[in-house]
Point group: C2
Chain length 503, copies 2
């Protein structure tokens, strides 16, 4: 490396360190807002957070920093793989944000913050009209963000929004994958609905306490081998995971008194995210590239732990004694197989986060179709609740009675569009790499024994290690040798439910 490269690298890393410090602080404030901040304190704290984000943003706008990072990008072939990724990420970020002034950024932050506050209120009161204006503003600024970008990835405005969460994915690819899903899953769903199989479910809605659920949640995090010395868990309205620092990974969950299974799968899902964050190479932090994982990659991991592992016979075998111990009022007289079947009931329902593995995809397809139409101007904000309900009727045959159980259930539209498809892509990715994993380690046996160290280690070496340095298509090819495709996911669902429902 020549001395200019060294000098520029040092400078860039010095500024990156400061940016990460502001981001860390802002992330703690976000976490606080979602977990404990009192209602009337939200707005002021939102302003504080916006200020910090703006300070970080101003640093990325510093000319000397931009010059240095663009210099590194031009000389990227002379850098090692970690620094090359940093240079790539910075260049990509710069191209996306070069025309966004600090004032604009501040304006955007305030809009997102207000949207979150409005959504929280609207949801509490189950009244979409209280969120309507904020949603319209979030759409406007998302379009504005794309409009003022110099870089164009080709494709539509919506494709460019998608790119922010899942690099280089296109709505054409999604239409293809979701098309296959509709084609194979709608008939499968119909067969299941018509099947004679009866699954016992009376115990699923027996009331449990928050304390019982907290006890179960903690045990599950320990069981999947997440290190609570490097993390914390608490509750929030919408569960999430936040990697605040290299040794500080926070998981939240949510308890419903009449749905004990919700707390199990919420925590295993978030636990998957947390494992991904906590088992990444420490070099990711040292080189400031730990934000390189895409949402699709992240969801592939969380949903593998939640569903592919979490709803398997072996996992139910593993947790059955603990579930009996923690929820005696639920489990009296319930066999292990009854628990397995009940946790895998397929049934159209209104709430995405509680959906079974099969109907889940339709929750995503509905959101995908709506947000794409919203961005493309084919749908107005005021029509959203109606269209939402119509699509639920069309795909799942049911309709929400309230906005709270309908269009207001998810937080995502308070900050943007293009995130939801990542959940579904995640299912497809993990179906692909799970097929490789089961050829290399005896996954069923390891799950049944609760040996998560071995599973997590396979994931660390094969799935987590390069995630921040590769594009999603490079990454899935690196793991499996193939391009993204829905087939292996659909094969898995057909096989699983054909057996379970004796089709």
């Amino acid at each position: 490396m020549n001395s200019d490269i060294i000098k520029n690298l040092e400078y860039v890393k010095k500024v990156e360190k400061e940016i990460m410090t502001y981001s860390h602080a802002a992330a703690i404030l976000s976490y606080d807002q979602e977990t404990i901040c009192p209602p009337k304190g939200m707005e002021e704290q939102g302003e504080v957070k916006a200020f910090l984000e703006n300070q970080a943003f101003k640093l990325t706008k510093d000319e000397k920093f931009i010059e240095a990072s663009e210099y590194l990008y031009e000389h990227r072939d002379e850098l090692d793989e970690w620094d090359r990724t940093l240079a790539d990420q910075l260049h990509r970020g710069y191209m996306k944000e070069k025309n966004i002034t600090p004032e604009k950024m501040m304006e955007f932050s305030l809009v997102y913050n207000k949207a979150f506050v409005d959504w929280s209120e609207a949801r509490a009161e189950s009244d979409f009209s209280k969120f309507r204006d904020s949603l319209a503003r979030v759409i406007e600024i998302n379009k504005e963000i794309i409009k003022i970008r110099d870089i164009k990835n080709g494709g539509s405005v919506y494709d460019q929004l998608l790119d922010d969460y899942e690099r280089a994915i296109t709505s054409e690819k999604l239409d293809e994958c979701f098309g296959k899903c509709k084609e194979r899953l709608l008939p499968l769903l119909k067969k299941i609905m018509n099947s004679k199989k009866t699954i016992r479910r009376d115990f699923m809605s027996i009331e449990v306490t928050d304390e019982q659920q907290a006890k179960m949640a903690k045990w599950l995090l320990q069981t999947i081998d997440f290190d609570l010395e490097r993390g914390a868990f608490t509750t929030s309205e919408h569960p999430f995971t936040d990697g605040l620092g290299k040794d500080d990974i926070r998981v939240t969950t949510h308890y419903y008194p009449n749905y004990f299974a919700g707390s199990i799968y919420s925590i295993v899902h978030e636990g998957g995210h947390a494992l991904f964050e906590s088992l990444q190479p420490k070099e990711n932090y040292e080189h400031f590239i730990n934000g390189g994982k895409t949402m699709g990659m992240h969801e592939s991991v969380s949903r593998m732990y939640e569903n592919r592992i979490g709803r398997s016979k072996e996992f139910v075998h593993l947790i059955y004694p603990k579930v009996c111990e923690v929820f005696p009022q639920v489990m009296e007289g319930v066999t292990e197989n009854e628990l397995y079947e009940a946790l895998n009931i397929v049934e159209p329902s209104l709430i995405r986060t509680e959906a079974d593995e099969l109907t889940y995809t339709f929750h995503i397809i509905i959101r995908y179709e709506i947000e794409k139409d919203l961005i493309e101007g084919k749908l107005t904000v005021d029509e959203v609740p109606k269209v939402w309900n119509q699509k639920y009727k069309e795909y799942l045959g049911i309709e929400p009675e309230t906005d709270r159980d309908g269009v207001l259930q998810d937080v995502h539209w308070t900050f943007g569009f293009g995130y939801f498809p990542a959940y579904a892509i995640g299912n497809m990715y993990n179906a692909m790499y799970y097929n490789r994993m089961k050829n290399e380690i005896d996954i069923n046996d390891l799950v049944a024994k609760g040996d998560f160290a071995a599973i997590n280690n396979w994931m660390k070496e094969n799935v987590f290690k390069k995630a921040d340095r590769l594009t999603p298509s490079e990454w899935i090819k690196d793991i499996t040798g193939k391009e993204l495709d829905a087939d292996e996911f659909l094969d898995y669902l057909e096989e699983k439910y054909t057996e379970l429902y004796e089709l």
Copy 2:
């Protein structure tokens, strides 16, 4: 006001707004560290917090800001009372900190942060040696801070540290007040110890759950009329209150399974702080002077709610039915009078925060005498645990068996010296203004009825309103017409315990 004053005021307030923003963020991080941050994430978060505090500190060092605020101080007679207070506070802060460079400030922040981390570990393991080095460093930097200050308030180094918490109080005054306490309370304690009165206490250590205590705590906060829409409560190792924003006042408490009363009085104490923060004039925030309350003022309020009100017959009458409802396993067969007496048992004990009103003062005197000697070099750090134990023996006739129950019980020495006396001064202040309050409103009747709105309103108008704009001696004179003195506090204790113990 001339245009220069207006210009300087505007500039100063613009910078103050930014400083407050950084401080707000840093306060959230502190709160997070004390309530949920995982052990291994503490250090990194401490660095982030130190960075934010340093950013704020750098702003106070900006020449233009100093010039503007010193200009305002020179023209303070032309300002309204709010802006005059701001100019006073800024001048005082400037004089105290003008010789502290941002680098020094960063160094200090890191020392305090490390001290907190070390103390947490030392306390968990009950091992003073793990805190020893950090304590020595905190002493060093406190001496250094005083040494490099331009402003001298006369008196010793320790007097100048005291001044940071209780403006212009002196160790001479404290020696006088504490001298009176020893003179009148040691004989009173002896009489009580020799009294024939038996107080039933078997039920006081019956095991209760965290959930029961949380339920009681929430009810108590509501009962004393603290607005939970503008505040939150949770648990931490050492309970505290933090006014993070004008509508965001956080209270923490701590639960002990075998001491249900601890959770009651911890929350009423912190609730007193929270009322003081939440019922101050909104102008305090608008003029950035809400940090003007001294620790002694603050403790006077919290300890009035906790003890003078909280341990009165009327308050016990008010809470008795709820205590019976929430803690049935404790209260079966316990009368209201038995509860009142048990909550007022005088008994030498090891833990300050659980001490009765009488022996409490000795907990403070011990800490006061030790920290004064530490600062004055009459005592070494290594001698502290031994001297701590000796003094407990001398004043209270008991000795801790572990550092955890001894010298490591309080967080305060992780950040400095001169705080503890504020607790005792607080008792003396509130005894003085309580005597005025009871002449003006029927406090006993209001407490018994649970009409805290009326009590809080009297406090707001007479005690809270001017606290940020007056020195402690101006303030207590404004409320009572008198100077600080221990007599009214000692009269109260003698009268209360003479009756209770039938002396």
